[in-house]
């Protein structure tokens, strides 16, 4: 799968950007040229040799804060995506097999989750359940899990109704074997697409929360927090928001690009699509998950 994604230019760009961001998250605090928390007398300085991106209103080095803050964003978005994956996929597949009662209940739960504005809910939950980014990310993960539920349910439904699965069942295969052998393979590509999208969404949410100053303690550097402190000094440092904003946007863009690339190369028509994608007008279109009886 990875090799086929890398065969597309878009896939190469996406993987390159995400690799850089992942490296920043791992090595960021080490690479930082200054202590991200150390204040100095040179406040709101423009970019220079010692401070490539200048300093903020307390004289702290912006580049160091940017590097040190990458870990929170990356970990947070991964937490959102993995929680959503676990919470969404398992009931999504089981809803096809565990009978109508289970199906009805999970569908209603999904309807409810879709109706909740997740940023508002995340704000509320963090503030009420203790000031930690992890709780918020877990809750947000649950709130965005309907995407995984719908995607895996739609894929499972198609497989479950196909003739080869019917044949396998008639030949005496157990449902568990069918799920492991046939369903899983078909569900994986759409899940990979959803995972890439959700990591992007998680990034926006973590940045929004840290922008509002929720979930992290003040001196700790975050990308959103950097932007928030820039907002007060726009007339002195009009260029200051550029670096953190570009980082956030590039990461989200890379996630979307990766999702598109995975969608393009997965499935039977994948290879042919790779060759002809430039000719296809609808290639950028997002295919909505099949309607599975939701409110929206």
């Amino acid at each position: 799968m990875l090799r086929r994604v890398l065969s597309l230019p878009a896939g190469r760009i996406a993987v390159a950007i995400l690799t850089v961001v992942a490296l920043l998250a791992v090595l960021g605090p080490v690479l930082a040229p200054h202590d991200p928390l150390a204040t100095s007398a040179r406040t709101l300085a423009p970019g220079s040799g010692t401070h490539p991106l200048g300093t903020d209103y307390l004289g702290r080095d912006v580049l160091s804060r940017l590097l040190a803050g990458s870990r929170v964003s990356v970990l947070g978005s991964l937490e959102v995506a993995l929680t959503a994956l676990v919470v969404g996929v398992v009931p999504g597949i089981l809803s096809v097999y565990l009978g109508r009662a289970f199906e009805w209940v999970t569908l209603r739960v999904v309807d409810t989750l879709v109706a909740l504005p997740f940023l508002l809910f995340a704000v509320a939950v963090i503030a009420l359940l203790g000031n930690g980014i992890t709780q918020a990310m877990l809750v947000t993960g649950v709130l965005v899990s309907p995407l995984f539920y719908r995607v895996s349910r739609a894929a499972t439904l198609t497989v479950a109704r196909s003739q080869y699965v019917e044949a396998a069942l008639i030949a005496g295969a157990s449902v568990g074997w069918v799920v492991r052998r046939h369903v899983w393979v078909k569900v994986l590509p759409p899940i990979a697409v959803a995972l890439a999208q959700t990591i992007g969404v998680g990034f926006v949410i973590v940045s929004s929360l840290t922008f509002l100053g929720i979930g992290v303690q003040p001196p700790e550097p975050t990308w959103g927090g950097l932007l928030a402190s820039d907002l007060g000094y726009l007339s002195y440092q009009p260029w200051a928001p550029v670096a953190p904003a570009l980082l956030i946007m590039a990461t989200v863009w890379a996630c979307n690009l990766l999702a598109d690339a995975i969608r393009d190369v997965s499935g039977e028509a994948g290879r042919a699509l790779v060759a002809h994608r430039r000719l296809r007008a609808g290639r950028r279109g997002r295919t909505e998950p099949a309607p599975t009886g939701g409110a929206s």
Binding site: L116, V125, L231, A281, G294
Partner: protein, 343 residues
């Protein structure tokens, strides 16, 4: 109906077309409403229950908010009894839910004010901004999406697709900062913060909500444009379009009568899905633009641990989402009747 000699269906329909059609349309609206209600009533019950359970989960108490950290256990107990928090959980929920149905969301822990009133004040601001954002989003998204679809695979299409991709990855607060920077700090065209009600004049009101609405609308523009382009391109490939071309229908007629009608459904459905995100993003935009709206109220009361206020905010947001989805479903049923089948 009156004559027995005439062939049954056609003349009868011709005789009373308006009445029959009106009855038919009304029936369809009612059916949509009933179906939506069947989905939304359980949603509402579950969501309010989860919301109410938040207080027990949080372990927060009005005593902590009012008396501070070092209050005596007796004082804490007295305050909690005063708020009715010593009763069983389900009784509390029943009482709260009863009030809810009458539009009473309780009183704030921090200042004892009526929460419905507080939220009502904020909603005026937020709904002004959100409505304008929706109008901008739908109009701009429609223009961009249809232009891209009509000029598909040309440089116009590529430019629009690139622009849409760019704005779709900009979080609301980044857009907000860019707009403040460009129009308020740089060009001094719009005020950078604050709100003026419509009663004080249309122009100042518009001036104050334009930037926040723009910031909020980017996401909508991107989604509507992208969805519309995809579904219009798909509709143009259908056989009935070829058929219409062969019959010699004008391009305008094909676009308006055949393509647009079939392509509009998914874009409208996206709009319904987008609304919760819009409500959520208002928390951020109102912070950037210093608006005392619904989102700001949510943020402030969450940060101060004012549980009833947060519960009120969540309930109101759920109601907003539900009502908006209902409207979208009604419009959808009107525009694309097929969308009502098999859902």
């Amino acid at each position: 109906m009156t004559t027995t000699l005439a062939p049954p269906a056609a003349p009868a329909r011709r005789r009373g077309p308006t009445a029959a059609r009106a009855r038919h349309a009304l029936g369809r609206v009612l059916a949509t409403l009933a179906r939506s209600a069947a989905i939304f009533v359980p949603v509402f019950l579950v969501a309010t229950f989860v919301t109410f359970a938040l207080r027990s989960l949080s372990g927060l108490s009005p005593a902590r908010v009012q008396l501070g950290e070092d209050a005596t256990p007796e004082a804490i107990h007295r305050v909690e009894a005063q708020w009715g928090l010593d009763r069983p959980f389900l009784v509390q929920y029943g009482h709260w839910f009863g009030g809810l149905l009458h539009g009473d969301l309780g009183t704030s822990w921090t200042n004892g004010a009526d929460i419905s009133t507080l939220i009502g004040l904020g909603l005026g601001v937020s709904l002004s901004v959100a409505s304008l954002a929706l109008v901008i989003g739908v109009l701009a998204g429609f223009v961009l999406g249809t232009t891209a679809a009509l000029r598909q695979t040309t440089w116009v299409d590529r430019a629009i697709t690139g622009f849409v991709t760019l704005i779709s990855v900009m979080p609301a607060f980044v857009v907000g900062i860019v707009l403040v920077e460009a129009f308020a700090v740089g060009l001094h065209v719009f005020p950078s913060a604050g709100y003026v009600p419509m009663a004080q004049g249309l122009t100042p009101w518009l001036e104050h909500i334009t930037l926040p609405a723009l910031a909020l609308s980017f996401d909508v523009v991107a989604d509507v444009a992208r969805q519309l382009r995809t579904s219009l391109v798909a509709a143009y490939r259908e056989n009935y379009v070829t058929g219409a071309v062969v019959r010699g229908l004008s391009p305008q007629r094909i676009f308006l009568g055949h393509v647009l009608r079939n392509g509009l459904g998914p874009a409208l459905a996206t709009l319904g899905l987008k609304f919760p995100a819009l409500v959520g993003a208002s928390v951020v935009t109102e912070w950037v633009f210093g608006l005392q709206g619904f989102g700001r109220f949510a943020n402030d009361s969450a940060q101060s641990g004012d549980v009833p206020a947060v519960q009120g905010v969540l309930v109101v947001s759920i109601v907003l989402v539900v009502v908006f989805n209902l409207l979208v479903n009604l419009v959808l049923a009107r525009v694309t009747p097929a969308s009502q089948r098999g859902v």
